[in-house]
Assembly symmetry: C2
Homo-oligomer: 210 residues x 2
């Protein structure tokens, strides 16, 4: 089946949103925790958190156009701090619910039955139920002129993870952590490891590391 | 286990690369196809392809610093066109092998045993073996000052996908397409759908759509 430019612009907006949201492949599944200037903890689901570099450790993620109030954006711009918390299989329904449009006085932690956790010097709340967590700080942002989205770039300051999920070489066993992946706007999947391969070199078959 | 800023900067670079590459969660698994000015087809694996918007359909992905020759980058800047092709379970070893540093005269299509496919007006090669494919055109790029990476933004001009993978509402069943997800630099996983949920609204439990 072929959708060309013409048919992509003519199909129903909801159909196009489902199609285009799933056509880039699986997405990361994270809850971003922030705290407002007034102290209210906020948590919201994001499927766009992307690795940007290891040295220094950095990630990026996307905000839709700031034409409506974005609590997460306002909070992280004000405080400079936020947390990233993996969503595991037992959390998917609650995590999805954080995408509902709650008013500014409601904490999604309370509304969606998650527990705030404050650790070390980070002023933003972690999600206690999560098994892989990061403390991050805002670095910069790029406005995507083509559609008004904002790509935020942040430093990964701290990583919290159970020892049993870390392989000898630092790789995380996300299957053991039961971290999920997202398809489209509303699909949640549980990945099973197929293989890990050795560093690729011309003329040499990759070897299995598992 | 807690890695703070101090320990993240002190651990061995390979260990940090594995850890930080997997800590953002699962990543999309795509092959990007391009063609050089001289006509040589090129294909390379990318785990950073990210949804940026549905209207108009857009995606973004990251190049590491352009301090060494990046064939994919040069080709897509020259021609303005490229393809994005999902990696399925039967392609993971070959797809991983495209990350080997081949010289500019070698086509990874040939070296890694993939088949070029030219469809409609797109001048860049598709990967015939792939089951979900897009034709894209370069829009703009943002240099990430903090580490020299480049975030490329592109328009999705065409989508090619088997009818059997498309749900009634446009959502793609990536499990049926056997699309994989990537963990870290070298891990490949096969996701199984857990659930799809209805649009979230305050005070209402999300309903299952499956």
């Amino acid at each position: 089946m072929h959708f060309d430019q013409q048919s992509l612009s003519n199909i129903a907006p909801r159909y196009r949103a489902h199609l285009i949201n799933s056509v880039t492949g699986y997405k990361s599944a994270n809850l971003i925790g922030t705290r407002s200037a007034a102290g209210l903890p906020n948590v919201a689901i994001f499927s766009s958190v992307t690795h940007l570099g290891s040295n220094p450790p950095m990630l990026g993620f996307v905000f839709r156009p700031l034409t409506v109030e974005r609590h997460t954006y306002n909070n992280l711009k004000t405080s400079g701090e936020f947390t990233v918390n993996h969503i595991h299989t037992g959390m998917i329904r609650q995590a999805h619910q954080t995408s509902a449009k709650y008013d500014a006085e409601t904490s999604e932690f309370k509304a969606c039955d998650f527990t705030t956790e404050y650790v070390d010097e980070c002023k933003a709340p972690f999600v206690k139920e999560s098994r892989v967590k990061m403390a991050c700080s805002y670095l910069s942002e790029h406005r995507i002129e083509e559609n008004g989205c904002v790509f935020v770039i942040a430093a990964i300051d701290s990583v919290y993870v159970d020892k049993e999920f870390i392989a000898e070489d630092g790789w995380l066993d996300l299957e053991k952590a039961e971290t999920v992946a997202i398809t489209g706007q509303d699909g949640y999947a549980k990945p099973t490891m197929l293989d890990r391969f050795s560093y690729a070199q011309p003329g040499k078959e990759p070897e299995s590391l598992l």
